[in-house]
Amino acid sequence: MKRATFNNISVPVLLLVPQLTIIAIFFYWPAFEALRSSFYLADPFGFGATFVGIDNYTSLLKSAEYRRVAVFTLIFVALVSFFSLSIALLLAVKADRVIRGARSYRTLLMAVYAVAPPVAGFLGVLFFHQSHGPFTELAALFGYDLKIGVNRTDTTIALVTTAVWNQVPVNFIFFLSGLQSIPKPVMEAAMIDNRSQTSRFWTVTFPLLAPTAFFLLVINITYALFDTFGTFDVIFRGEPANNPLSLVYKVYVDGFRGNDLGGSSAQSVILMVLVLALTVFQFRLIERRIHYT
């Protein structure tokens, strides 16, 4: 195969400049600022800062509350990724088989993608409202007193449900296009070999979907970690209290509510390292084992 190359270095550089400028201004600069201020203790009223070395990090590691938030975030990310991937896969497999009115089904399933996380959070508040929420009333029929904002487990249920509902459409779109790109002859050959739909799915379809699934897994982990912030904020209605906080929400609470910029920056640096690790994991481990066709 013939490779297309540039004779002159200046053209590719020129073409890359806009992209690099944007990355530098909106990513590297803030990331550097966060790293720098994580070594300082800032005055809450904005009158200067004192260098404290790694104190912000050590006090985080010593904090029992920070550990609790980290553990909850882990559980939350696992629940959201698992449910939004499996529900989306189920829907995609079913939608793939539909022939009549397929377009309308798909559009309906994808529509939720347009809902922004804070709006999803607001809908969550309405559905799980302490006294008028339909889900609260439904739970009451089964004798369960669902109380978001009071009981941590109930608040977690509301958070996970809302976040999953919001994320399923994205996964659905990817899974559906993944399913549709599986070559017909492969499926037909499988059909001759094996009559069972379930076993065909697990032995043929699912492995062929693996690249999509792993890509989505990473996307879902970052979604659950970061993009759900708006959902958390709306469901908590500005009161962290005894609600289950996520790591990102805690960055906000300490930095913007409490004006502790140093402590908050140290937390965001920890999150940056986490994302870096996730990216390395994605490229090194997963991409090596999964073969894209």
Partner: protein, 333 residues
Amino acid sequence: MIPVEDLLNDNGISFDINDYIAGVRYFYADANDKMIGMPFNSSTPIMYFNEAALEEAGVSAPTTWEEFAETTAPALKEAGYIPLSQSHLPWIFTENFFSRHNIQFASNNNGYGGTGTEILVNHPAIKAHFKALKEWRDADLFEWYGAGWGDNQTPFEEGKVAMWLGSSASFGGLKQKVDFPLSATFLPYWEGVNPEPTQTFIGGAALFAMSGKPAEENLATAKFFEYLTSPEVQYKWHRMTGYVPVTTASYELAKSDGYYNEEPAAEVGTQQLQKAAGEFTKGYRMGFYVQIRDVMNREYGRILNGETSVDEAFSVIEEEANDLLTRFARTQG
């Protein structure tokens, strides 16, 4: 920042801190009682009650928590009501709890003395109060709907809860929403803790004038402050919202206008702010206090859900709050 007292004096506007009603006077003042911020929308926690519900249960509004526990609450429960809810545990049941009983809340003269303050929240009286709250909740004598203000107020408006502790500033809104006879009284106290209860202090906000502005701007700011604290303007805000009239003159205007004959409950907040003062009723001053309140809310929620014990929770609050105070002191160093 220019202290409001200096700003007004420098611009030829007469200022006397004693023109302000007692519970408002020193909340935004420094350690030497000089007023720094100008209180504008000030309110204090009071107890609202549904008169019809109390009548049905055959009780009157309690003045002490002992009376609440022994008489009022069981009767209201019997009549089918949830006796009590409240909307802000740190403000009503912590800060103002200390003020109402005249107990020291923080070292360094409640923190007015500068940084290096330690919180004294781990006190037997407040621990006994939270133990009682947990027992009342378990016995359906008190309900807690989370840290959201509205979640605790709504059941009162709907008539499910008979008495609600909220802000005097909620009066204007409540009056329009409820369809039962609304009344209010002072925040109850524990007779066993202090048989001679003291005043509460305020919540709300103040106006601060920034330094480094030209003289004309300062003059304009001073004139604006004079306008905002004028009796007519304060009375108007008081009537529309329920925030207290911050000066004696505006309070007198409300009285002479006959407002409290129409709405006796509207006077409760102001009267409570003028009750006997004590050594520890001026207010408090602590850094990173927003986070300290968040820690309180977190631990209080855990107490009421039975996830931690009162003793454990208060030692956690004390420890985390003091860590935050030390951290704050370092930012000022």
